[in-house]
Symmetry: C3
Subunit: 108 residues, 3 copies
């Protein structure tokens, strides 16, 4: 099994990241995929333009996660996020912990 | 032995990446170096501006790899690439597999 | 204990990176944090705008490191750097070695 965490902190990288995730899913490898957004990239969870793509991937098992520090900085409430987004206190700590437990790291 | 995979998905990062690889080579560490290009960065395999530098590094053992998904998106045929470039079906899967087998990951 | 190396090669990413490090520190996890700057990003060790933040983090145990190859390319002498910055011969080699010894890699 291949666990992998994608890191995104720039809004404009969402199309590239979502394409990356779809291409990885298409390989039918045994993966566990988490997408961790911090900094400005958390805004796109709320904006909605990519929400259909995200929800579809979430239905296939891809986890979408937001950093609470970033939500605070962007004045976004957890309640304003789609139901498929989970929140961690610190996105960077999540990246560290996941790599420590064997996740590959990819930064599109 | 230090295996390392460099990830590039932006065309403008090639000079920085190739400089990074040369600096790492100059350290005379026992390394195994792969350069994995996906997204728009695969275009520069075809354009040719960096091909001499790449070929020289390849002659020293550096592997240059292109993502087939990206080649398809850019309408580039494998036959259009220099002989020293190899192709994998999905660049992201390659990044995951290599890290899973102990490669360091560097994104210039 | 969670060892982590942050990689920065672009000047404009310093505010984001320093915020990332502060957020990680605030989690009060048992971390060992190194910031490795190469390419143009080493210039900001000299410029001084972020030096107070860096020194404060260094006093908390965060290591700030510059790549000698990058210093040479930017015509910066080691003597021109603040006292809390250490220098390694090749930043990329440092990233490889640290990951090989179990450090997580984060590229803001």
């Amino acid at each position: 099994m291949y666990p992998v965490i994608f890191h995104i902190d720039e809004e404009e990288k969402w199309p590239l990241l979502l394409g990356n995730v779809k291409n990885l899913r298409a390989e039918r490898m045994d993966t566990e995929i988490e997408v961790l957004a911090n900094a400005a990239a958390v805004k796109n969870y709320q904006h909605g333009a990519f929400n259909d793509q995200m929800r579809n991937l979430n239905n296939q098992g891809v986890q979408f996660v937001a950093c609470q520090n970033a939500l605070n900085a962007q004045h976004i409430l957890k309640e304003d996020l789609p139901e498929f987004v989970s929140v961690v206190p610190a996105g960077i700590a999540e990246l560290v912990k996941k790599q420590s437990s064997g996740y590959a790291y990819i930064k599109p």
